[in-house]
């Protein structure tokens, strides 16, 4: 009976191992995470109690200002990073979309940020942004300026700058690939009809590039929402808690210092739901775009 089941579904033999492993690796920890989030489990204590929804009530009763601050800056960072990187990436792709001899060199340079280990990125920028001995202020001094890059006021914007440095080339590469694969027929037709540049851009280029743009948005929005590596090595969430993004908030609650695994699990559940909802919306949009096209 089992044999005939598999004979009718020959694909199962190929995809089952992967589905089972991925299922086990995601479903079991997720259930465990929900379980932990209703306890007061602390690192180093052998016993713990179920506390029901207490951890969640604390978050949503409005008393936990740190949590809401983290949610705020994480969402703000996601929006700012995605929009800036999309705009800059688009501009860069337009710059690249022409023939010249040393193009391969420009690409080689652009791949450096894309491939660089994010935690090391944070670290090297920490050296460069050092107020006294950093190279950025050394350059600025020629123009008579000086910025305390990692101060309480500036740390958020500096983190954003580093993220833009690391990920704009990624967006540019995707949109560039999209521009290269644009068909020529619609443009010829538009030229015959006498459409102007803005009309061509709005009615032809943008719809054709839409799947690529969405793809870039999906990756950038989700990755910047759950960002951890760069702020961890750049600012450690500080000074104070000025750059304590959600991931860092979870880290500080659960591991650094306090060890409140139960409470940090509750915040993780919030982060998990947030990323799931946003990625579901974006992936649905993307599928619509792709499936309409093909």
């Amino acid at each position: 009976m089992i044999r005939s089941y598999f004979e009718k579904r020959p694909h199962l033999i190929y995809i089952m191992p992967a589905i089972i492993i991925l299922g086990a690796l995601t479903i079991i920890p997720t259930i465990f995470l929900y379980g932990l989030s209703v306890t007061n489990y602390e690192l180093g204590y052998p016993t713990f109690d179920f506390v029901g929804l207490e951890n969640y009530i604390r978050l949503f009763s409005g008393k936990d200002a740190e949590f809401w601050y983290s949610v705020g800056i994480s969402l703000g960072f996601m929006l700012l990073a995605t929009v800036t990187q999309l705009a800059l990436g688009f501009w860069l792709a337009v710059l690249l979309d022409r023939e010249f001899k040393l193009k391969f060199l420009v690409f080689a340079c652009m791949i450096v940020p894309v491939a660089m280990t994010p935690s090391i990125t944070g670290q090297v920028w920490k050296l460069m942004m050092n107020a006294e001995y950093g190279v950025l202020n050394y350059f600025l001094q020629f123009f008579g300026g000086k910025v305390v890059w990692l101060s309480g006021e500036n740390a958020f914007w500096s983190t954003l700058l580093v993220d833009i440095w690391q990920n704009t080339p990624f967006v540019a590469l995707i949109i560039y690939a999209g521009m290269r694969s644009l068909p020529t027929d619609p443009y010829e037709a538009a030229a015959i009809d006498g459409a102007n540049k803005l009309q061509i851009f709005r009615n032809i280029t943008l719809p054709l590039l839409w799947p690529m743009i969405l793809l870039a948005v999906i990756f950038r929005a989700i990755d910047s929402l759950k960002m951890f590596d760069i702020p961890y090595s750049l600012t450690q969430g500080g000074p104070g808690s000025s750059t304590e993004f959600l991931s860092l908030h979870i880290y500080r609650l659960g591991f650094a210092g306090t060890g409140w695994i139960g409470r940090s699990a509750a915040v993780s559940v919030v982060l998990l739901i947030l990323t799931t909802v946003i990625s579901m919306i974006l992936i649905r949009l993307y599928r619509k775009g792709v499936e309409n096209k093909g």
Binding site: A18, I28, P29, E99, V112, V124, L215, I283
Partner: protein, 274 residues
């Protein structure tokens, strides 16, 4: 004809592209420069010309266990890549060549796993691993890295398999070969460039991974990215060593990235853009 019109490289665009290129590689160059300076020189950004010293590299290998980090990174990365390519490659073939119910839904479920925040998985995995007594082992990292390597392999390899004409397989079926023989003898050899590119991307992604490595290891299995924790509190004291170990960490990935440059866009988009 170029659809977007202007195709010439004007002086302005050339200068802009030069600036972009310099901005992109400058942090890497700067880290390299600092790693070759002596202690006091590192705090003076105005020194551009100096006789390079390899003192910092000597120190990280002698005093900071750089060899152990390198070894841990290599073991974890190679094993997780090997297993993920094997399991993910099989699944990719399944998705590429068979029609079945809810195929696309399952494929997108696999893709959505890439979106999971590692911070949410790492807490339960940390507690589970400590119950099982496998914290700070290579094994726990190898397993966790499959979480992003298998979905990546499935999407990447699916796009490569779909490029191979079905007619080749059908010819082999006529000759009496079984589906599995065809997969091993015909499809895999044809997909070798794709397999190599996919493996290299798995290597890069696993090499760069930080969250799991930070939480699940403490000394015996720590990988290179976790070395940033060595320099958190005392920043400003050992910039030279800090940069040297950074260079040791990123040089291999940059090298690998240059090898797969041709497939870069495809790799970054999970095979979505060819």
């Amino acid at each position: 004809m170029n659809p977007l019109g202007n195709k010439k490289l004007t002086v302005v665009t050339a200068v802009l592209l030069l600036i972009v290129s310099v901005v992109c590689i400058f942090p890497f160059i700067w880290m390299m420069i600092i790693s070759l300076k002596t202690g006091t020189q590192t705090y003076d950004p105005s020194i551009w010309f100096f006789s390079p010293t390899f003192e910092n590299y000597k120190n990280i290998f002698e005093n900071r266990h750089a060899v152990d980090y390198l070894k841990n990174s290599s073991i974890v990365v190679l094993l997780t890549t090997f297993i993920s390519i094997f399991i993910g490659g099989m699944a990719a073939y399944g998705f590429a060549r068979f029609e079945f119910k809810k195929k696309e839904n399952r494929a997108f479920w696999v893709l959505s796993l890439r979106m999971l925040p590692p911070m949410a998985s790492v807490i339960p995995i940390f507690v589970m691993a400590s119950l099982l007594g496998i914290l700070d082992t290579h094994l726990v990292l190898i397993i966790c890295y499959m979480l992003f390597n298998i979905p990546f392999t499935i999407w990447m390899m699916r796009s490569f398999f779909e490029e191979i004409p079905v007619a080749l397989e059908e010819a082999a079926f006529v000759d009496g070969a079984s589906r599995f023989q065809v997969f091993i003898r015909i499809i895999l050899p044809l997909a070798t460039p794709g397999l190599i590119a996919t493996s290299i991307f798995c290597i890069i992604n696993s090499w760069n991974e930080f969250v799991f490595a930070l939480f699940l290891t403490s000394s015996d299995a720590s990988t290179l990215p976790t070395t940033v924790t060595l320099f958190l509190s005392v920043s400003g004291v050992v910039w030279g060593e800090m940069s040297a170990i950074g260079i040791v960490t990123i040089l291999p990935v940059l090298l690998f990235a240059m090898i797969v440059q041709k497939y870069m866009i495809r790799g970054l988009t999970f095979g979505g853009v060819k």
